[in-house]
Subunit: 146 residues, 2 copies
Amino acid sequence: MEPDDMTLTNQLCFSVYHASRLFTKFYKQALEPFQLTYPQYLVLLSLWEEDRQPLHKLGERLDFGSNTLTPLLKRMEANGWLTRSLPATDHRQLIVSLTEQARDAKPEIFTAIHQCVVQQNIDVSKYNDTLAMNHELIATLQRMLK
Amino acid sequence: MEPDDMTLTNQLCFSVYHASRLFTKFYKQALEPFQLTYPQYLVLLSLWEEDRQPLHKLGERLDFGSNTLTPLLKRMEANGWLTRSLPATDHRQLIVSLTEQARDAKPEIFTAIHQCVVQQNIDVSKYNDTLAMNHELIATLQRMLK
DNA sequence: GTAAATTAAATCGTACGCAATTGAATTGGA
DNA sequence: TCCAATTCAATTGCGTACGATTTAATTTAC
């Protein structure tokens, strides 16, 4: 590794960190009317794909622990997005299910985000390569942290 | 915008968000022995480049407000990394200066991070394109949020 | 059948991020 | 000169992130 590689590593990490904060801020604009935060929206995305997941499975998909999810899910339950229930078969688990409000709101929320993207005239397809590279970076980082 | 673009936007945001959290975790391994967090390390990086910056200039570079920096800088001062002082000319500003400890520790800290990268056999130069793409993404997001 | 190991959610403590407000210091225009 | 506008840092409040521990339920090994 050359001396410069230290700078590259630093810059790469900061660029990802910076982009993440800006992206979250962008989503915030669209999600605020729904009283949703970005991590809460991620939970909805996962449940829209597959309803009635146990907490640990949600955590696996989003890479969150129960220390993050437990209070987050309680807030979402308080806002009427989901219900938390114990299955009869295993009282250790906690099943998270969407409310009707959450199922119904999906198109409206997608439209709100869509609007924000369209307003800015973003060519989303341009970012296919960026997505692929991020996936590779994530895989590398996961190997590093194992 | 095609229907699929919604999915792409969602995936792109999540990939950046996920990568950022993993990268921070990676740096944490190297920084923990120094009692430094990643955002605190960013402050050191900026001050190593230019010592004695006012708080708002640090904030501009790192995209942090005083609500984030004020407590963070107090913690760093408590740990002996920097000093906070009011310039005689303008009592509104707060000048942040490195301590000798912070100036001396730079090579040691860089070595610690370097070690983590080398141990994992990462080809850092591979990520030049990713960095460039992230810069473009950041520029787009900044335009969108203006 | 029961004690030990495992699994799962919750709790605790610390440190960000950030919108919004406050309050002190400085500047600039009438 | 004097006061209104501006510029800063600090404060407040809320919601993540996450390491570490705790507590409860279930599995397993014997």
